[in-house]
Amino acid sequence: MAKLEIKNLHAEVEGNKILRGVNLTINGGETHAIMGPNGTGKSTLASVVMGHPKYTVTEGEILLDGDNVLDMDVDERARAGLFLGMQAPAEVPGVTNSDFIKTAMNARLEEGKKVKLFSFIKEYDKAVQDLKMNDDLPHRYLNEGFSGGEKKRNEILQMKMLKPKFAILDEIDSGLDVDALKIVGENVTGMKSDDLGLLLITHYQRLLDYISADRVHVMMKGRLVKSGGMDIIERIDSEGYDWIKQEVGIEDERVLPKEDEERTVLGTCATKEALDL
């Protein structure tokens, strides 16, 4: 059975320590959920597992079926079976959704082999319908001009086509109205199998009304501070996070103090505009 192990993971971004010792094991067929307020390191964990170049792992390991994931490039991780449904997927002008996913599927085949066009189109069209997206999706440019909800559905659509072994879905519920949430929930639930390990990241319990989780973890200050069953979610839903903070003995659950966070956000915008050479 497939197994994803995260052991004592520490990671930094732009000189700030964000992850401070994350331990988590997911077996094929299991669904885990990570909850936690904003700024506690959830997306950072997802990015580090996928291999985003901005993040540096300073300690710990990630193993996929015993293989060292940290040794692999981003694309190798994907081909090894990891998938990340991103909180804020990039827009890529000029690249159509169908060309993109076709190229991604071809990348999984042996050198020189290609997916059969006809069956690809059939499968893609079906996925578009399952997610109740517009027919013109294949010809539209990748996420360009998409609403928040469309982007999230497009992530799930890609997951359907790529059939990963482990999928991390980062706030796949944010920006979705109730109808869309239901569609996404049904589609993800429909993909559940003994061959798929799922990690849902969210800070609303409502996602878990549609996709049930076997285990729930709470993240604060860059660590998983509490783990348990669905009962944790009910309590968070009615009481918020204060009781967990008290249990753990912290006042501010964020990894970085608030001012820092605002500054970093500004910083990223500025560098995007700047001429990098």
């Binding site: 996928m50 291999g51 985003h52 170049p53 901005k54 490039d73 981003v74 694309d75 991780r77 994907a78 081909r79 998938f83 990340l84 991103m86 997927p89 990039a90 827009e91 890529v92 002008p93 000029g94 690249v95 060309d99 993109f100 996913i101 190229t103 991604a104 990348a107 999984r108 440019y141 990748l142 890609q158 790529l162 505009e273 700047a274 001429l275 990098d276 050479l277």
Partner: protein, 364 residues
């Protein structure tokens, strides 16, 4: 006076790099080699006159001279082509003619330096979608002038793909004039390896005239290329849009100089310009110097330039789905260049473009 000298044609066969492009996608085409028509399917297009330059000069000299005087371009290279043309074409779409199928013209340099002049005249109420592909088969100095006249309420889409080799030198001047409610679109795909100096001038001479000038250019190795686009607003209520997309790699240098010029009293005119660039290596250069010269208050104008490396977030996103870095970069670059790629309506020509992009960015 316009002069024309005929060079002898050594070999009238269709070159290997053109043959595969003449497929079922292309119904209307003409192939010109060293100034001679060596293949065509355009004998009878209702309302359209197409002739070799020497033929046209004897049949339509007055029209050609009159239009030529209007342009009055002071550049030396312009005068040079007027005096020394050895290759050329005149296309005249007569009043009220809408040409349904795209007209493809292939201009081949084989034995002689290319001194070429294309004149496209679209009379009032006409429509033409014109695509030309230039290629050289032997190192040469290439001087090209093209002139477009867009009449009242006429529409001309002028798409051009150039592929000149590294040992060649390329100088192109394109002039366009647009009348009332006319619309002129240039889609310029520059995938040459030659040292290039390319100028596109558009004059919006009557109210409500409109023009789009889109250029994509890729430079590599030690190539240097300079592209100037000048859109002049010579009447009120005119609109001019300039879009430049550049990719430079290795130690090449690519420069865009876009100029929107609104003269005094040309009220309610719109001049917009956008420059985007991807620099693929540390030693490559890419400069955009957008300029607005505006002598009137009541106008809308904007310009911008965004130049940088390949977007790291885009790259990460594509790779996170399993694409190799190289494939991800390839897809992003082709996507980036799609504003002009999309104008090529034959798959064969699209793949010429894509393959050239591939070739010119292979050393990433």
């Amino acid at each position: 006076m316009i002069h024309y000298t005929k060079n002898p044609l050594i070999d009238d066969s269709i070159p290997e790099n053109i043959q595969p492009l003449i497929d079922e996608d292309i119904t209307q085409f003409l192939i010109l080699k060293d100034g001679h028509i060596i293949g065509q399917s355009v004998d009878h297009i209702e309302g359209v006159y197409i002739e070799n330059f020497d033929e046209a000069l004897s049949q339509k000299r007055d029209l050609i001279e009159t239009l030529d005087n209007e342009h009055n371009n002071p550049a030396d290279s312009y005068q040079y082509v007027k005096d020394n043309a050895t290759s050329g074409l005149v296309i005249h779409v007569t009043k009220n003619t809408v040409v349904d199928d795209t007209l493809h013209v292939f201009v081949v340099q084989e034995e002689h330096d290319l001194v070429h002049n294309t004149i496209v005249v679209c009379d009032d109420n006409t429509e033409l979608n014109y695509i030309e592909y230039y290629v050289n088969n032997n190192p040469a100095s290439n001087n090209i002038v093209t002139q477009s006249f867009v009449g009242e309420n006429a529409r001309l889409s002028y798409t051009t793909v150039n592929q000149f080799d590294q040992k060649s030198v390329l100088n192109i001047i394109r002039n366009g004039r647009v009348k009332r409610y006319g619309e002129l679109t240039y889609n310029i795909a520059e995938v040459s390896d030659a040292l290039s100096d390319v100028t596109t001038n558009v004059q919006l001479i009557e109210p409500y005239a409109k023009s789009y000038v889109k250029t994509v250019a890729i430079t590599n190795q030690q190539q240097e290329a300079r592209f100037e686009q000048l859109v002049e607003h010579l009447a009120h209520h005119t609109e001019g849009y300039i879009e430049n997309y550049g990719v430079s790699s290795d130690t090449s240098a690519l420069v865009f100089e876009g100029i929107g010029k609104i003269h005094k009293h040309m009220k309610q005119s719109v001049a917009r310009q956008q420059n985007r660039g991807i620099v693929l290596s540390r030693k490559a250069r890419l400069d955009a110097n957008p300029l607005l010269l505006i002598d009137e208050y009541d106008v809308i104008a904007s310009h911008g330039a965004a130049i940088g490396k390949i977007d790291e977030e885009q790259l990460y996103y594509l790779m996170s789905r399993g694409l190799s870095k190289r494939n991800a970069e390839r897809l992003i670059i082709n996507g980036f260049l799609s504003p002009v790629l999309d104008a090529l309506d034959s798959d064969a020509l699209k793949s010429v473009f894509v393959n050239s992009v591939e070739r010119k960015t292979q050393d990433l």
